[in-house]
Each structure stands twice: as structure tokens, then as C-alpha cells.
């Protein structure tokens, strides 16, 4: 499968938003549905997030569930702080 070289910031933010808002670990399928991406695109981003340590896996009753890892949570906070800082620096 193709690996992402430069992920789209919007899509990353969507992943982080969904997982952050959900709070609880969720199935991969549910995550895909909520991101609104096709399977191929979703898998690229999902693998990218796994490889960067943003997601943590938990197995419950033979079902794989995913949630934000502490690193993913930290990235979410950093993203939000960055948006706020960038906005503050914008001049008309």
C-alpha cells in the first residue's frame, strides 16, 4: 500500500477531532465512516497515524478498538494551539 508523504492537515485534524471528541476507543470501521474517506485513503492515513504513534490499540472480545495515544492527544493540543497562535499573528 502507498504510504503518505505529506498528509493533508485537514484530514489529520478530522481524525484527531473524531478520536478526541469520542473519548472512548472505537472500531476501525466506525472511524472510517466518521472520517468520510474511502477505504484506500482511510488506510493511508490510518497507517500514517499508527506509524507516528498517534493511535493506541486495545482488544476487547476479539475486537480491535483504537483511541488517541498520549502522543496523539499531545499532537491534538499542539495543533489547536498552533491554529490559535497563527490566527493571532494574522494581520489585515
Amino acid at each position: 500500500m502507498k504510504t503518505l508523504e505529506r498528509p493533508d492537515l485537514y484530514v489529520l485534524a478530522r481524525f484527531l477531532d473524531i478520536l478526541y471528541e469520542n473519548g472512548q476507543p472505537m472500531k476501525k470501521t466506525n472511524l472510517q465512516m466518521r472520517t468520510g474517506l474511502n477505504y484506500v485513503r482511510f488506510s493511508e492515513y490510518f497507517d500514517w497515524m499508527i506509524s507516528h504513534g498517534f493511535l493506541q490499540k486495545k482488544v476487547e472480545d476479539d475486537v480491535e478498538l483504537y483511541s488517541l495515544s498520549p502522543q496523539g492527544l499531545d499532537s491534538y493540543h499542539r495543533l489547536v494551539a498552533w491554529i490559535r497562535e497563527t490566527m493571532k499573528g494574522m494581520r489585515i
Binding site: 485537514y10 478530522r14 507516528h52 499542539r78 497563527t86 494574522m90
Partner: protein, 201 residues
């Protein structure tokens, strides 16, 4: 800081973001309106002056001195009408550009009503950036106005349209260069910042 505190901080940052963007949007609209008014007034005055001076010179050389006052009055009124029409057209055209900010206003309204996500925040940031670039692009019009003003001024003071033309072109090119440079610099800085945040996540 615990993860719960972090979460609260992130939520607060997102809420602050909407408030700041709302203020930014108000300032943007006000500044666009003020700039448009000033630009329309300057262009109107420039056209008034050019028409009146042109007609005045033509009358001076072609009409007998006993009849010139009435003709000058007509020349003055024609120049005023030209200036007013030009100002009005410039005002309408430039105000239409404010519709470029409509997307920002709509997103802000949506965000004020529901929960704010970081994706919405990114969208908001992009729209604010586009709006700021639109405002910078308007400086290209201002460069043109400076060029026309320099042309008229130098032509009349130096009584030489050739010098006026050169002065007008040089003035226009200088201010255009400055406006474009600032525009490109701002855009590049923004794109680099976006690349950096992806790398740093």
C-alpha cells in the same frame, strides 16, 4: 497538566479562536469599507481635476475671454459629474470584493452555533488568510491610483505629458512591486508554517 486539564485548555483555545476570528471579521469589513471610501474619493478627485484642467486649458486657448466664465462653469460642473460617476463606480466595484469574505462570515456563524473542531479552526484560519490576501491585493489598485496621480501632477507642474507619463509608470511599478512582494511573502510564510506543523506533529 492532566489530560483533562489539557482537554479544557484545548476547548478554551477553540472558543477563543472563534471570538478572535469574529473580531477579525468585523475589523476586516470595517477596513474594507474605509479603504473603499478613501479610494473612491481619491479617484473621484483625480478624475475631477484631470477633466477640469483639460477642459480649462482647451477653453483658454479656444474661447473669447468675454464668454469664458460661463464655459468655465460648465467645465467645472462636467468635471464634478465625471468625478462623482467615477467615484461611484469605483465604490461599487470595490465593495463587491467584500463578498469574498462571505464564506468567512458563514463559517463563523456556523461555528458560533455548534461545537468547534480543529478542522473548522483550520478552515477558519485559511479563510482569514485568504481575506487578508484579498485586502493586500487591493493595494495593486492603490498603486494604479498613485501612478495616475503622479502622471497628472508631473504633467501639469512640468507642463510636459512625457515626463508625466514616465513619472506615472515609475510610481505605478514601484508601488505594484511593493504590494506584490508583501503579498507573496505573506502567502509563502503561511504555507511554510502549515508544512512545519505537519512535520512537528
Amino acid at each position: 497538566m492532566t489530560s483533562e486539564q489539557n482537554g479544557e485548555a484545548a476547548d478554551k483555545l477553540l472558543a477563543d479562536m472563534v471570538r478572535d476570528a469574529d473580531e477579525y471579521y468585523d475589523r476586516l469589513n470595517l477596513q474594507q469599507l474605509n479603504q473603499t471610501r478613501v479610494y473612491a474619493a481619491v479617484m473621484g478627485a483625480v478624475i475631477w481635476f484631470a477633466v477640469f484642467a483639460g477642459l480649462g486649458i482647451a477653453l483658454y486657448f479656444n474661447v473669447k475671454s468675454s464668454l469664458i466664465s460661463l464655459d468655465l462653469l460648465w467645465a467645472f460642473l462636467t468635471a464634478v459629474a465625471s468625478g462623482v460617476v467615477t467615484g461611484a463606480i469605483v465604490y461599487v466595484v470595490r465593495r463587491q470584493r467584500a463578498s469574498n469574505f462571505a464564506g468567512l462570515g458563514a463559517l463563523l456563524t456556523k461555528m458560533k452555533q455548534g461545537r468547534v473542531s480543529s478542522e473548522d479552526g483550520l478552515r477558519l484560519m485559511d479563510l482569514m488568510h485568504q481575506a487578508a490576501l484579498t485586502m493586500r491585493k487591493q493595494r495593486l489598485d492603490t498603486a494604479f491610483a498613485y501612478g495616475v496621480s503622479a502622471f497628472i501632477l508631473v504633467s501639469f507642474v512640468g507642463l510636459n505629458p512625457g515626463f508625466g507619463g514616465v513619472a506615472g509608470v515609475v510610481t505605478y511599478l514601484y508601488f505594484r512591486f511593493e504590494a506584490l512582494r508583501e503579498y507573496e511573502k505573506e502567502d509563502e510564510r503561511y504555507e511554510v508554517a502549515k508544512k512545519d506543523i505537519i512535520l512537528s506533529l
